[in-house]
Symmetry: C2
Subunit: 231 residues, 2 copies
Protein backbone atom coordinates (compact mmCIF):
# COMPACT_ATOMS: atom_id res chain seq x y z
CA UNK A 1 0.00 0.00 0.00
CA UNK A 2 2.15 2.86 -1.22
CA UNK A 3 2.02 6.28 0.39
CA UNK A 4 -0.36 8.41 -1.70
CA UNK A 5 1.97 11.39 -1.32
CA UNK A 6 4.72 9.39 -2.97
CA UNK A 7 2.48 8.38 -5.85
CA UNK A 8 1.43 11.98 -6.27
CA UNK A 9 5.05 13.14 -6.30
CA UNK A 10 6.02 10.48 -8.83
CA UNK A 11 3.17 11.44 -11.10
CA UNK A 12 4.31 15.04 -11.08
CA UNK A 13 7.73 14.06 -12.45
CA UNK A 14 8.24 14.31 -16.20
CA UNK A 15 9.78 10.84 -16.02
CA UNK A 16 6.52 9.15 -15.21
CA UNK A 17 3.80 11.30 -16.78
CA UNK A 18 2.54 8.62 -19.07
CA UNK A 19 3.27 5.54 -17.05
CA UNK A 20 0.67 2.91 -16.26
CA UNK A 21 -0.61 3.48 -12.68
CA UNK A 22 0.07 -0.12 -11.72
CA UNK A 23 3.69 0.16 -12.76
CA UNK A 24 3.89 3.42 -10.89
CA UNK A 25 2.75 1.71 -7.73
CA UNK A 26 5.55 -0.79 -8.00
CA UNK A 27 8.05 2.01 -8.44
CA UNK A 28 6.53 3.80 -5.46
CA UNK A 29 7.27 0.79 -3.29
CA UNK A 30 10.97 1.50 -3.71
CA UNK A 31 10.65 5.17 -2.73
CA UNK A 32 11.01 7.03 0.50
CA UNK A 33 11.19 10.60 1.73
CA UNK A 34 14.46 12.09 2.88
CA UNK A 35 14.64 15.35 4.79
CA UNK A 36 17.92 17.21 5.10
CA UNK A 37 19.08 20.26 7.00
CA UNK A 38 20.88 23.06 5.20
CA UNK A 39 24.45 22.00 4.52
CA UNK A 40 23.77 18.35 5.14
CA UNK A 41 25.39 15.95 2.67
CA UNK A 42 23.18 13.61 0.66
CA UNK A 43 25.93 11.66 -1.05
CA UNK A 44 29.60 11.87 -1.95
CA UNK A 45 31.35 11.52 -5.26
CA UNK A 46 32.35 7.95 -5.97
CA UNK A 47 29.77 6.32 -3.73
CA UNK A 48 27.75 3.58 -5.40
CA UNK A 49 24.40 4.86 -6.57
CA UNK A 50 21.22 2.94 -5.76
CA UNK A 51 18.60 5.61 -6.28
CA UNK A 52 17.87 8.92 -7.87
CA UNK A 53 16.24 11.96 -6.32
CA UNK A 54 13.51 14.53 -6.90
CA UNK A 55 13.53 17.77 -4.95
CA UNK A 56 10.19 18.34 -3.31
CA UNK A 57 11.18 21.35 -1.25
CA UNK A 58 14.40 23.26 -0.74
CA UNK A 59 17.49 23.02 -2.92
CA UNK A 60 20.53 20.89 -3.68
CA UNK A 61 24.01 21.78 -4.85
CA UNK A 62 26.01 19.28 -6.89
CA UNK A 63 29.74 19.90 -6.92
CA UNK A 64 33.17 18.41 -7.28
CA UNK A 65 36.18 19.26 -5.19
CA UNK A 66 39.08 20.74 -7.09
CA UNK A 67 42.76 20.13 -6.31
CA UNK A 68 42.88 22.88 -3.68
CA UNK A 69 39.65 21.87 -2.05
CA UNK A 70 37.76 24.51 -3.99
CA UNK A 71 34.14 23.65 -4.70
CA UNK A 72 33.42 23.42 -8.36
CA UNK A 73 29.66 23.81 -8.62
CA UNK A 74 28.23 21.60 -11.33
CA UNK A 75 24.57 22.30 -10.71
CA UNK A 76 22.44 24.28 -8.36
CA UNK A 77 18.95 22.85 -8.25
CA UNK A 78 15.68 23.80 -6.64
CA UNK A 79 12.26 22.35 -5.99
CA UNK A 80 10.87 20.50 -8.97
CA UNK A 81 14.22 19.36 -10.29
CA UNK A 82 15.51 15.81 -10.15
CA UNK A 83 19.04 14.48 -10.36
CA UNK A 84 21.34 11.46 -10.37
CA UNK A 85 19.27 9.55 -12.91
CA UNK A 86 22.25 9.04 -15.17
CA UNK A 87 24.40 8.04 -12.21
CA UNK A 88 21.87 5.36 -11.40
CA UNK A 89 21.09 4.13 -14.88
CA UNK A 90 24.44 4.42 -16.60
CA UNK A 91 27.36 4.96 -14.29
CA UNK A 92 26.51 3.13 -11.11
CA UNK A 93 28.38 5.71 -9.06
CA UNK A 94 27.74 9.34 -8.18
CA UNK A 95 30.01 11.59 -10.23
CA UNK A 96 29.57 14.54 -7.84
CA UNK A 97 28.92 15.47 -4.22
CA UNK A 98 25.44 16.60 -3.24
CA UNK A 99 24.49 18.83 -0.30
CA UNK A 100 21.25 20.50 0.69
CA UNK A 101 21.37 24.29 0.40
CA UNK A 102 18.20 25.15 2.24
CA UNK A 103 16.49 24.42 5.49
CA UNK A 104 14.63 22.10 5.24
CA UNK A 105 15.21 20.23 2.00
CA UNK A 106 12.78 17.40 1.36
CA UNK A 107 13.65 14.85 -1.29
CA UNK A 108 11.94 11.87 -2.79
CA UNK A 109 14.41 9.01 -3.09
CA UNK A 110 13.46 6.74 -5.97
CA UNK A 111 15.04 3.33 -5.54
CA UNK A 112 16.86 1.94 -8.55
CA UNK A 113 16.29 -1.76 -7.99
CA UNK A 114 12.55 -1.84 -8.70
CA UNK A 115 13.06 0.56 -11.56
CA UNK A 116 15.71 -1.55 -13.25
CA UNK A 117 13.71 -4.70 -12.71
CA UNK A 118 10.67 -3.05 -14.30
CA UNK A 119 12.74 -1.94 -17.26
CA UNK A 120 13.37 -5.61 -17.96
CA UNK A 121 9.93 -6.92 -17.18
CA UNK A 122 7.80 -4.25 -18.77
CA UNK A 123 8.62 -3.73 -22.40
CA UNK A 124 6.69 -0.52 -22.63
CA UNK A 125 8.36 1.22 -19.72
CA UNK A 126 11.47 2.28 -21.63
CA UNK A 127 9.68 3.88 -24.58
CA UNK A 128 7.07 5.42 -22.29
CA UNK A 129 9.67 7.07 -20.07
CA UNK A 130 11.66 8.27 -23.05
CA UNK A 131 8.55 9.72 -24.65
CA UNK A 132 7.48 11.39 -21.46
CA UNK A 133 10.89 12.91 -20.84
CA UNK A 134 11.12 14.14 -24.40
CA UNK A 135 7.83 15.95 -24.15
CA UNK A 136 9.15 17.78 -21.15
CA UNK A 137 12.40 18.42 -22.94
CA UNK A 138 10.64 20.13 -25.82
CA UNK A 139 8.89 22.46 -23.39
CA UNK A 140 12.11 23.31 -21.64
CA UNK A 141 14.01 23.93 -24.86
CA UNK A 142 11.33 26.32 -25.89
CA UNK A 143 11.24 27.98 -22.51
CA UNK A 144 14.96 28.63 -22.75
CA UNK A 145 14.43 30.05 -26.21
CA UNK A 146 11.75 32.37 -24.92
CA UNK A 147 13.57 33.52 -21.83
CA UNK A 148 16.40 34.56 -24.12
CA UNK A 149 14.09 37.10 -25.70
CA UNK A 150 14.96 40.48 -24.38
CA UNK A 151 11.55 42.11 -24.46
CA UNK A 152 9.15 41.44 -21.63
CA UNK A 153 6.15 42.12 -23.86
CA UNK A 154 7.35 39.56 -26.37
CA UNK A 155 7.60 36.90 -23.69
CA UNK A 156 4.17 37.67 -22.29
CA UNK A 157 2.49 37.73 -25.71
CA UNK A 158 3.98 34.36 -26.60
CA UNK A 159 2.99 32.84 -23.33
CA UNK A 160 -0.52 34.20 -23.51
CA UNK A 161 -1.11 32.90 -27.02
CA UNK A 162 0.10 29.47 -26.05
CA UNK A 163 -2.21 29.07 -23.07
CA UNK A 164 -5.22 26.81 -23.53
CA UNK A 165 -8.01 29.16 -24.51
CA UNK A 166 -11.72 28.60 -24.43
CA UNK A 167 -14.02 30.79 -26.42
CA UNK A 168 -15.43 31.14 -29.84
CA UNK A 169 -14.44 33.29 -32.74
CA UNK A 170 -12.38 36.37 -32.08
CA UNK A 171 -12.93 36.42 -28.33
CA UNK A 172 -10.56 33.92 -26.78
CA UNK A 173 -10.73 33.57 -23.04
CA UNK A 174 -7.57 32.47 -21.27
CA UNK A 175 -8.03 31.23 -17.74
CA UNK A 176 -4.92 32.13 -15.77
CA UNK A 177 -3.68 28.92 -14.22
CA UNK A 178 -1.44 30.66 -11.69
CA UNK A 179 -1.47 33.89 -9.73
CA UNK A 180 -0.19 36.86 -11.68
CA UNK A 181 2.75 36.93 -9.36
CA UNK A 182 3.68 33.42 -10.42
CA UNK A 183 3.10 34.19 -14.07
CA UNK A 184 5.46 37.12 -13.78
CA UNK A 185 8.04 34.91 -12.16
CA UNK A 186 7.62 32.25 -14.83
CA UNK A 187 8.27 34.88 -17.48
CA UNK A 188 11.20 36.41 -15.62
CA UNK A 189 9.63 39.79 -14.99
CA UNK A 190 8.29 41.62 -11.96
CA UNK A 191 4.58 41.63 -11.14
CA UNK A 192 4.62 45.39 -11.75
CA UNK A 193 5.83 44.96 -15.30
CA UNK A 194 3.22 42.31 -15.97
CA UNK A 195 0.48 44.53 -14.64
CA UNK A 196 1.61 47.48 -16.75
CA UNK A 197 1.78 45.40 -19.92
CA UNK A 198 -1.72 44.08 -19.41
CA UNK A 199 -3.06 47.55 -18.75
CA UNK A 200 -1.33 48.96 -21.82
CA UNK A 201 -2.76 46.24 -24.03
CA UNK A 202 -6.18 46.76 -22.53
CA UNK A 203 -5.97 50.46 -23.32
CA UNK A 204 -5.08 49.49 -26.88
CA UNK A 205 -8.23 47.38 -26.93
CA UNK A 206 -6.32 44.18 -27.64
CA UNK A 207 -7.33 42.39 -24.48
CA UNK A 208 -9.57 42.66 -21.48
CA UNK A 209 -7.65 41.95 -18.31
CA UNK A 210 -9.66 40.42 -15.51
CA UNK A 211 -8.84 39.07 -12.13
CA UNK A 212 -8.00 35.54 -13.10
CA UNK A 213 -8.52 35.49 -16.83
CA UNK A 214 -7.64 37.47 -19.91
CA UNK A 215 -9.99 37.87 -22.85
CA UNK A 216 -8.09 38.29 -26.08
CA UNK A 217 -10.11 40.58 -28.29
CA UNK A 218 -7.76 40.77 -31.21
CA UNK A 219 -4.96 38.25 -31.39
CA UNK A 220 -3.22 39.73 -34.39
CA UNK A 221 -1.30 42.54 -32.73
CA UNK A 222 -0.30 40.11 -30.00
CA UNK A 223 0.90 37.61 -32.59
CA UNK A 224 2.91 40.37 -34.20
CA UNK A 225 4.52 41.18 -30.87
CA UNK A 226 5.17 37.51 -30.21
CA UNK A 227 6.94 37.23 -33.53
CA UNK A 228 9.30 39.98 -32.57
CA UNK A 229 7.73 43.03 -34.19
CA UNK A 230 8.81 46.16 -32.39
CA UNK A 231 6.30 47.39 -29.84
Amino acid sequence: MPDPDILEALRSLPHFRMIDPRILERIAEGCRWRTLAAGETLFLEGQPCRAFYAIHEGGVRLYRLGPEGREHVVHNLRAGASFAEAALLSFGRFPVHAVATEQPTKLLEIGGDPLLRLFREEERLGPAMVGSLCMHLVSLVERVEELSLAQAGERLARWLLRQPASGKGQRLEVELSMSKRDIASHLAMTPETLSRLLRKWQEQGWIESRRSSVVIQSADPLSALADGEPA
Copy 2:
Protein backbone atom coordinates in the same frame (compact mmCIF):
# COMPACT_ATOMS: atom_id res chain seq x y z
CA MET B 1 27.24 1.82 -44.20
CA PRO B 2 25.50 4.72 -42.48
CA ASP B 3 26.08 8.30 -43.55
CA PRO B 4 28.70 9.73 -41.17
CA ASP B 5 26.78 13.00 -41.04
CA ILE B 6 23.78 11.13 -39.71
CA LEU B 7 25.84 9.40 -37.06
CA GLU B 8 27.34 12.72 -36.07
CA ALA B 9 23.89 14.31 -35.83
CA LEU B 10 22.58 11.43 -33.73
CA ARG B 11 25.51 11.65 -31.37
CA SER B 12 24.82 15.32 -30.82
CA LEU B 13 21.29 14.57 -29.57
CA PRO B 14 20.77 14.27 -25.84
CA HIS B 15 18.82 11.11 -26.55
CA PHE B 16 21.84 9.17 -27.65
CA ARG B 17 24.79 10.68 -25.78
CA MET B 18 25.67 7.53 -23.97
CA ILE B 19 24.60 4.92 -26.45
CA ASP B 20 26.88 2.16 -27.67
CA PRO B 21 28.25 3.12 -31.12
CA ARG B 22 27.12 -0.16 -32.65
CA ILE B 23 23.55 0.40 -31.53
CA LEU B 24 23.78 3.92 -32.85
CA GLU B 25 24.73 2.60 -36.27
CA ARG B 26 21.64 0.47 -36.37
CA ILE B 27 19.50 3.46 -35.44
CA ALA B 28 21.25 5.48 -38.12
CA GLU B 29 20.15 3.00 -40.75
CA GLY B 30 16.58 4.09 -40.16
CA CYS B 31 17.36 7.79 -40.54
CA ARG B 32 17.27 10.18 -43.42
CA TRP B 33 17.56 13.89 -44.09
CA ARG B 34 14.51 15.95 -44.95
CA THR B 35 14.74 19.46 -46.31
CA LEU B 36 11.71 21.75 -46.28
CA ALA B 37 10.97 25.19 -47.65
CA ALA B 38 9.52 27.88 -45.41
CA GLY B 39 5.85 27.19 -44.87
CA GLU B 40 6.06 23.61 -46.06
CA THR B 41 4.14 21.09 -43.99
CA LEU B 42 6.00 18.20 -42.41
CA PHE B 43 3.01 16.35 -40.98
CA LEU B 44 -0.60 16.88 -40.03
CA GLU B 45 -2.42 16.25 -36.77
CA GLY B 46 -3.86 12.77 -36.64
CA GLN B 47 -1.49 11.19 -39.14
CA PRO B 48 0.16 7.98 -37.97
CA CYS B 49 3.64 8.62 -36.65
CA ARG B 50 6.55 6.47 -37.79
CA ALA B 51 9.49 8.67 -36.88
CA PHE B 52 10.62 11.56 -34.79
CA TYR B 53 12.63 14.58 -35.85
CA ALA B 54 15.65 16.65 -34.91
CA ILE B 55 16.05 20.16 -36.31
CA HIS B 56 19.47 20.55 -37.87
CA GLU B 57 18.87 23.94 -39.42
CA GLY B 58 15.93 26.31 -39.60
CA GLY B 59 12.80 26.11 -37.44
CA VAL B 60 9.53 24.29 -36.99
CA ARG B 61 6.17 25.42 -35.66
CA LEU B 62 3.85 22.91 -33.99
CA TYR B 63 0.23 23.98 -33.81
CA ARG B 64 -3.38 22.93 -33.67
CA LEU B 65 -6.23 24.51 -35.52
CA GLY B 66 -8.93 26.04 -33.37
CA PRO B 67 -12.63 26.06 -34.18
CA GLU B 68 -12.38 29.21 -36.30
CA GLY B 69 -9.33 28.02 -38.15
CA ARG B 70 -7.12 30.04 -35.84
CA GLU B 71 -3.64 28.60 -35.35
CA HIS B 72 -2.97 27.70 -31.78
CA VAL B 73 0.80 27.54 -31.52
CA VAL B 74 1.91 24.78 -29.22
CA HIS B 75 5.64 25.07 -29.78
CA ASN B 76 8.02 27.11 -31.82
CA LEU B 77 11.29 25.28 -32.18
CA ARG B 78 14.68 26.04 -33.67
CA ALA B 79 17.89 24.30 -34.58
CA GLY B 80 19.01 21.85 -31.93
CA ALA B 81 15.53 20.94 -30.79
CA SER B 82 13.80 17.64 -31.47
CA PHE B 83 10.13 16.75 -31.42
CA ALA B 84 7.46 14.09 -31.87
CA GLU B 85 9.26 11.55 -29.70
CA ALA B 86 6.22 11.06 -27.51
CA ALA B 87 3.99 10.83 -30.57
CA LEU B 88 6.17 8.02 -31.83
CA LEU B 89 6.75 6.15 -28.60
CA SER B 90 3.46 6.60 -26.81
CA PHE B 91 0.64 7.89 -28.98
CA GLY B 92 1.28 6.49 -32.43
CA ARG B 93 -0.24 9.59 -34.02
CA PHE B 94 0.87 13.18 -34.29
CA PRO B 95 -1.13 15.35 -31.87
CA VAL B 96 -0.29 18.57 -33.78
CA HIS B 97 0.49 19.96 -37.19
CA ALA B 98 4.10 20.79 -38.06
CA VAL B 99 5.36 23.31 -40.61
CA ALA B 100 8.79 24.70 -41.35
CA THR B 101 9.14 28.36 -40.46
CA GLU B 102 12.43 29.10 -42.18
CA GLN B 103 14.05 28.68 -45.50
CA PRO B 104 15.60 26.16 -45.67
CA THR B 105 14.77 23.87 -42.78
CA LYS B 106 16.81 20.69 -42.61
CA LEU B 107 15.60 17.88 -40.39
CA LEU B 108 16.92 14.51 -39.41
CA GLU B 109 14.11 11.97 -39.53
CA ILE B 110 14.75 9.17 -37.06
CA GLY B 111 12.76 6.11 -38.01
CA GLY B 112 10.75 4.49 -35.26
CA ASP B 113 10.87 0.87 -36.41
CA PRO B 114 14.55 0.22 -35.77
CA LEU B 115 14.31 2.16 -32.54
CA LEU B 116 11.40 0.16 -31.18
CA ARG B 117 13.02 -3.08 -32.26
CA LEU B 118 16.21 -2.12 -30.44
CA PHE B 119 14.27 -1.24 -27.32
CA ARG B 120 13.18 -4.85 -27.20
CA GLU B 121 16.45 -6.45 -28.23
CA GLU B 122 18.89 -4.35 -26.25
CA GLU B 123 18.10 -4.33 -22.58
CA ARG B 124 20.41 -1.46 -21.88
CA LEU B 125 18.99 0.94 -24.45
CA GLY B 126 16.04 2.06 -22.35
CA PRO B 127 17.96 2.92 -19.21
CA ALA B 128 20.77 4.47 -21.25
CA MET B 129 18.42 6.77 -23.14
CA VAL B 130 16.57 7.72 -19.98
CA GLY B 131 19.82 8.48 -18.20
CA SER B 132 21.10 10.51 -21.09
CA LEU B 133 17.91 12.51 -21.42
CA CYS B 134 17.81 13.17 -17.71
CA MET B 135 21.30 14.56 -17.72
CA HIS B 136 20.25 17.00 -20.38
CA LEU B 137 17.09 17.76 -18.46
CA VAL B 138 19.04 18.75 -15.38
CA SER B 139 21.09 21.18 -17.46
CA LEU B 140 18.03 22.72 -19.00
CA VAL B 141 16.20 23.09 -15.71
CA GLU B 142 19.18 24.90 -14.36
CA ARG B 143 19.53 27.02 -17.46
CA VAL B 144 15.93 28.15 -17.09
CA GLU B 145 16.64 28.96 -13.47
CA GLU B 146 19.64 31.03 -14.46
CA LEU B 147 18.03 32.87 -17.32
CA SER B 148 15.38 33.96 -14.86
CA LEU B 149 18.03 35.87 -12.95
CA ALA B 150 17.71 39.52 -13.72
CA GLN B 151 21.33 40.59 -13.53
CA ALA B 152 23.63 39.95 -16.45
CA GLY B 153 26.66 39.86 -14.16
CA GLU B 154 25.03 37.20 -12.04
CA ARG B 155 24.41 35.01 -15.05
CA LEU B 156 27.93 35.42 -16.35
CA ALA B 157 29.55 34.73 -12.99
CA ARG B 158 27.55 31.54 -12.55
CA TRP B 159 28.32 30.35 -16.02
CA LEU B 160 32.01 31.12 -15.68
CA LEU B 161 32.35 29.26 -12.40
CA ARG B 162 30.64 26.22 -13.81
CA GLN B 163 32.91 25.91 -16.84
CA PRO B 164 35.52 23.16 -16.75
CA ALA B 165 38.63 24.89 -15.47
CA SER B 166 42.21 23.80 -15.62
CA GLY B 167 44.79 25.30 -13.35
CA LYS B 168 46.23 24.98 -9.93
CA GLY B 169 45.48 26.82 -6.75
CA GLN B 170 43.93 30.24 -6.97
CA ARG B 171 44.54 30.71 -10.68
CA LEU B 172 41.84 28.83 -12.54
CA GLU B 173 42.00 29.00 -16.30
CA VAL B 174 38.74 28.65 -18.17
CA GLU B 175 39.04 27.86 -21.86
CA LEU B 176 36.14 29.48 -23.64
CA SER B 177 34.42 26.76 -25.59
CA MET B 178 32.52 29.16 -27.85
CA SER B 179 33.08 32.56 -29.34
CA LYS B 180 32.27 35.41 -26.99
CA ARG B 181 29.42 36.28 -29.29
CA ASP B 182 27.92 32.86 -28.71
CA ILE B 183 28.56 33.00 -25.00
CA ALA B 184 26.70 36.30 -24.87
CA SER B 185 23.81 34.78 -26.76
CA HIS B 186 23.78 31.73 -24.48
CA LEU B 187 23.50 34.04 -21.49
CA ALA B 188 20.89 36.27 -23.10
CA MET B 189 22.98 39.41 -23.21
CA THR B 190 24.64 41.42 -25.96
CA PRO B 191 28.33 40.94 -26.82
CA GLU B 192 28.89 44.51 -25.69
CA THR B 193 27.57 43.80 -22.22
CA LEU B 194 29.71 40.70 -21.97
CA SER B 195 32.77 42.63 -23.01
CA ARG B 196 32.10 45.37 -20.49
CA LEU B 197 31.53 42.95 -17.64
CA LEU B 198 34.80 41.16 -18.36
CA ARG B 199 36.65 44.44 -18.53
CA LYS B 200 35.14 45.65 -15.27
CA TRP B 201 36.08 42.46 -13.48
CA GLN B 202 39.54 42.64 -14.92
CA GLU B 203 39.91 46.20 -13.60
CA GLN B 204 38.82 44.88 -10.22
CA GLY B 205 41.60 42.32 -10.47
CA TRP B 206 39.22 39.39 -10.21
CA ILE B 207 40.00 37.93 -13.61
CA GLU B 208 42.28 38.26 -16.55
CA SER B 209 40.32 38.32 -19.77
CA ARG B 210 42.07 36.92 -22.79
CA ARG B 211 41.06 36.20 -26.31
CA SER B 212 39.71 32.71 -25.83
CA SER B 213 40.20 32.07 -22.17
CA VAL B 214 39.58 33.71 -18.83
CA VAL B 215 41.93 33.34 -15.89
CA ILE B 216 40.07 33.58 -12.61
CA GLN B 217 42.39 35.20 -10.13
CA SER B 218 40.06 35.32 -7.18
CA ALA B 219 36.90 33.30 -7.35
CA ASP B 220 35.37 34.59 -4.13
CA PRO B 221 33.93 37.87 -5.39
CA LEU B 222 32.61 36.03 -8.41
CA SER B 223 30.99 33.42 -6.21
CA ALA B 224 29.42 36.20 -4.20
CA LEU B 225 28.01 37.71 -7.37
CA ALA B 226 26.79 34.32 -8.54
CA ASP B 227 24.96 33.87 -5.26
CA GLY B 228 23.07 37.07 -5.82
CA GLU B 229 25.08 39.57 -3.80
CA PRO B 230 24.53 43.07 -5.12
CA ALA B 231 27.26 44.21 -7.50
